[in-house]
């Protein structure tokens, strides 16, 4: 193979990648440009043009000292605590949900007793319980993490139960005839078989965690993204408010992308895995 064809191939691949990027982001870019012109023409103070938002966002987050990677105090005081609570709450909810779901799903009758109760808990709009968590834990991280866990645990739990229930009967009987030890059975047969369902539940919980992180901070917190958003709104500082909103969109997008990549990697062995999102 000569160098020319090799570079040609690399070039073609790069070109194809670039086309894909352009194709998926073109409309997005066009809309942003339209927004820019419409906002400048309309002059509504509620909808500042995207360039103004971008400038404000850069000023808000990236004008810190070099020693802290140019990140400002706003990032350290508001973004990181929010992310910590959200991910902390999500991970705790995931652990609790998977463990309880495995226990309840393994037992034949347990779900008959607690299933309707769990379905009822899942139907409760979590924000209405935030006042209760607030008086129990105070206006700190405890209340926020508590609300996130309460909201995020049910999809994981119920999906785990469903996944555990869906283990192939042949596998169940094979494992039994080999007298597979219980720990092996749970870790090597049940958990992998339930994994696709568990991941579906985890993904729902991730967006619930993001939602509750914001809601709990809107209701009562001393710092955080939601708190900053509310402050900006109350000061009628719309470019700043939009900056935080855009940050939430970016965070949601990034979390979703990372989660999907992880899911694809973990579940790559699944033979019937469909290429859907």
């Amino acid at each position: 193979m000569t160098a020319a064809t090799l570079s040609g191939r690399v070039g073609r691949r790069a070109a194809r990648g670039a086309t894909a990027v352009v194709r998926s982001w073109l409309l997005f870019a066009i809309l942003v440009v339209i927004w820019e012109f419409a906002a400048r023409a309309g002059g509504s103070k509620f909808f500042p043009p995207p360039t103004e938002i971008a400038v404000r966002a850069a000023h808000l987050w990236f004008t810190g000292p070099a020693s802290s990677l140019f990140l400002t105090d706003a990032v350290f005081d508001n973004v990181f605590p929010s992310l910590g609570r959200m991910l902390g709450g999500w991970v705790l909810a995931a652990v609790v949900g998977i463990v309880l779901g495995m226990l309840a799903g393994r037992s034949g009758k347990a779900m008959d007793y607690v299933g309707p109760l769990f379905a009822f808990f899942r139907s409760i709009p979590p924000p209405t319980l935030i006042p209760v968590f607030a008086v129990l834990f105070g206006l700190g991280s405890g209340m926020q993490i508590g609300s996130i866990i309460f909201g995020a645990v049910w999809p994981v739990l119920l999906n785990t139960v469903e996944g555990v229930r869906s283990v192939d009967q042949v596998k169940v009987e094979t494992a039994r005839s080999f007298r597979t030890p219980k720990a092996y059975w749970l870790g090597m047969v049940v958990l992998p078989a339930a994994a696709p369902k568990i991941f579906a539940g985890l993904r729902v919980s991730l967006s619930i965690s993001l939602l509750l992180m914001v809601v709990s901070e809107l209701i009562g917190a001393y710092n955080g993204i939601g708190r900053s958003l509310l402050d900006a709104q109350q000061d009628f500082d719309f470019p700043t408010m939009w900056s935080w909103l855009v940050l939430l969109g970016i965070l949601g997008y990034v979390f979703n992308t990372i989660f999907l990549a992880a899911e694809r990697r973990v579940l790559a062995w699944q033979p019937t895995r469909l290429g859907r999102d």
Binding site: R23, P126, P127, V132, L218
Partner: protein, 256 residues
């Protein structure tokens, strides 16, 4: 029948546990009143016209939001599902808009629309759009190609294929999306009422109970009613879906 009894036994067990934990004094009685008190409050509230008006306001907003969301999301899903170019072009926008939590939009909506019923309906629609749209697109991918090609070979027009072949074939998926959206929209509407303090509604009731008078029996009673409504809606839609789409052989899995 046995299953129902066991479910009831579980419920009674939970209520007893709640009662005992509070009566023994593990948690403060002011902040978490015992189950007996909350249940009596629920009973009182259900006979209270003001509270019933709150429920009606919330449910009405919910119905309108779901109707609007279906009217937008189903055609959008059919369109995106049948034109791949369009789907690629809009993927970035959708993936950026979808994860923005509804609650984060509350401050913006309050400013632009105000705190009337329009605000909660708008956010309810926003939250309900995505599951319906994604399930419609997903359902489009599951249609038997032979059906589509037969229709095309018979010279059926594009619009006719969408309305008479694609739509009935995707209906079970659309319904799954509606069921998911129903729960999400209710949560979004109650949350908006709670955050924005609209004039009537279940969320507003909880807000007033928790801030003004700090009556936590009312907060928990309102929460229980909201949860029961959500549960009944979900359960009802699930039964309805099973009955309506018994003819459909495709294995449909909810995607959220």
């Amino acid at each position: 029948m046995l299953k129902l009894l066991r479910g009831l036994a579980g419920l009674v067990g939970f209520l007893l546990l709640w009662e005992v934990v509070v009566q023994v004094g593990l948690v403060s009685k002011t902040f978490i009143p015992p189950a007996s008190v909350v249940l009596v409050t629920v009973g009182d509230l259900l006979g209270d016209p003001t509270f019933l008006r709150d429920i009606v306001a919330t449910m009405l907003a919910w119905l309108i939001a779901i109707a609007i969301a279906i009217a937008i999301a189903v055609p959008a899903g059919l369109l995106l599902g049948s034109v791949p170019v369009l789907r690629t072009a809009t993927a970035a926008i959708v993936e950026f808009l979808r994860p923005i939590p509804v609650a984060a939009l509350v401050p913006l909506v309050l400013l632009v629309i105000g705190s009337g019923p329009e605000a909660k309906i708008t956010l309810g629609v926003y939250a309900a759009l995505w599951p319906i749209m994604f399930n419609t697109i997903y359902g489009m991918g599951e249609i038997d190609p032979v059906l589509m090609e037969t229709a095309r070979a018979c010279g059926t027009s594009r619009f006719r294929i969408l309305s008479s072949v694609a739509l009935p074939q995707t209906a079970p998926f659309v319904f799954t999306g509606v069921r998911l959206s129903a729960a999400i929209a209710l949560i979004a509407i109650v949350s908006t009422e709670f955050l924005a303090g609209s004039e009537v509604g279940l969320g507003n009731f909880v807000l007033i109970a928790s801030t003004g008078s700090t009556r936590f029996d009312l907060v928990l009673a309102g929460t229980v009613v909201a949860g029961a409504l959500g549960y009944l809606i979900n359960e009802g839609l699930e039964r309805l879906g099973n009955r309506l789409f018994r003819w459909s052989t495709v294995d449909r899995e909810a995607i959220a």
